[in-house]
């Protein structure tokens, strides 16, 4: 019984890995959605609507750096259109610039995780990290 369950579990993980692999558009959109959700929490703290919580704040920056590590590889050539993607053609025309923008996002997130020890330092670091959202979306994203 246990063995069957383990096999089934193994299969499920294997299958979902394959599905994820073959659907980079959905995967990058999900990663970006989690970045959006983390930003909602961060904004509430920055505005004083939620209390400052060191562990939570670290978690927000971790979502950012995880996404920055993972997302750049999710733009294979066969994912330029379809799946309601909003990625602009410039992602593929200027891969170097796109990767640099993610590297900067990751660096700002790492800086935030290290420096945000209270509300004031969090506000500054969160402000710096979230400047990357608009500047990357300006160049590499287009609503269709």
């Amino acid at each position: 019984m246990i063995r069957t369950a383990l096999v089934a579990l193994g299969l499920a993980i294997g299958v979902s890995a394959v599905v994820a692999q073959s659907n980079p558009i959905a995967e990058r959109k999900d990663a970006m959605k989690s970045v959006g959700a983390a930003t909602r929490e961060g904004a509430a703290i920055a505005k004083g609507e939620a209390p400052f919580d060191a562990a939570k704040v670290k978690g927000i920056f971790k979502v950012y750096s995880d996404a920055a590590k993972k997302v750049p590889a999710l733009f294979p050539d066969n994912s330029k259109t379809g799946g309601e993607t909003t990625a602009a053609p410039k992602v593929w025309e200027d891969q170097a610039g796109f990767k640099t923008a993610f590297a900067k996002f990751e660096a700002d997130a790492a800086k935030g995780a290290a420096s945000a020890t209270d509300l004031a330092t969090f506000r500054a670091a969160f402000g710096d990290a979230t400047k990357n959202c608009g500047s990357c979306h300006e160049a590499y994203r287009i609503k269709k």
Binding site: N78, H137, A139, R141, K143
Partner: protein, 312 residues
């Protein structure tokens, strides 16, 4: 037979002459009465410069200083390529030699100091809502910015769009030169918002569909449409289902400040530059714009093009 030909010729000539008279820049779009203006208010000029997004088009591309207005940005359109000109206070290459009346004439009537029509790719179709006093303030602010040397390349427009006189015909059909008129039945905040959105903010210039001659389709103003430069889609910002009906006033003001939507997506494309500008306005002005947008009746925009299939 001969008489008929002569009659036709006379009619043809009269037609051409009529077109010439009617499309004369000063006939079709006379500048506003200026009168005597008080000492310019440079701070107000700075605010209008931000609200108007002048730097988005006129700042020299590829440099961080958005107050260096050397021009050169390429603007695509269905009619050809435009290059935003140098509007820095440089006397030879910019507008350093322009008088206040010249500037008002360009901003409110779309006519250059040489008496030629300006193309509506320069959104004077919205800026004309600013009063002569406001425009004088704006010019006074631009005069405090650095003079930048060098001219932008000429526009790349095929015949007949390269004939500026043609714009006179366009203005006859589509240009309304009236300044902003406040609505006394509405609050001061609503009127401030209406002025900023319709005039300096020129929001409709992107958020509306255009007809084949490049003029905004009035019935679907603010209801979204294809991007004027041909890249992507601009969303509906009326109170319709697919517009801003579910956004609160403060959520709209937040977007204009930080670029974040209520879902904490961050607006991109050409809206990112708009947000950089509206972020510089006082909070009261962003709330006023939101107040006005919340009052727009719901309008269904044109259908979005079908999504292309996967791959490629």
């Amino acid at each position: 037979m001969r008489r008929l030909l002569i009659t036709l010729l006379v009619f043809a000539l009269a037609g051409i002459a009529g077109f010439f008279v009617l499309t004369d820049p000063r006939v079709v779009s006379p500048g506003p009465e200026i009168g005597t203006l008080p000492q310019p208010d440079i701070e107000n000029g700075k605010l209008l410069f931000a609200a108007g997004g002048c730097a988005s088009c006129h700042a020299t591309p590829g440099q961080d200083d958005k107050t260096r207005l050397g021009g050169g940005l390429e603007l695509g359109s269905p009619f050809g390529k435009f290059h935003a000109p140098n509007i820095s206070p440089h006397t030879r290459d910019g507008i350093g030699n322009w008088g206040t009346a010249d500037f008002i004439q360009a901003m409110a009537a779309g006519v250059s100091p040489a008496g030629q029509h300006l193309y509506p790719s320069f959104p004077y179709t919205s800026y004309r809502l600013m009063t002569p006093k406001a425009l004088a303030d704006l010019l006074a602010y631009i005069r405090t910015l650095p003079a930048v040397e060098g001219r932008a390349p000429p526009h790349e427009l095929p015949f007949p769009f390269n004939i500026r006189r043609m714009v006179g015909g366009w203005k006859l059909l589509f240009f309304d030169g009236a300044p902003f008129k406040p609505d006394p039945t509405k609050s001061d905040e609503w009127n401030r918002g209406a002025y900023l959105v319709q005039g300096p903010g020129h929001c409709a210039e992107c958020h509306s569909a255009r007809n084949s001659l490049g003029a905004i389709v009035q019935a679907t103003r603010y209801a979204g449409g294809p991007d004027p430069e041909g890249k992507g889609w601009v969303p509906n910002i009326t109170q319709s289902e697919d517009g801003l009906s579910k956004w609160s006033k403060s959520e709209i003001a937040e977007l204009l400040k930080s670029g974040f939507t209520p879902e904490f997506d961050s607006v991109g494309g050409s809206m990112a530059a708009v947000v950089r500008n509206t972020a510089q306005l006082p909070e009261a002005d962003r709330l006023a714009m939101a107040e006005y947008l919340k009052s727009l009746p719901p309008v269904q925009g044109p259908p979005r093009p079908p999504k292309p299939a996967s791959g490629g």
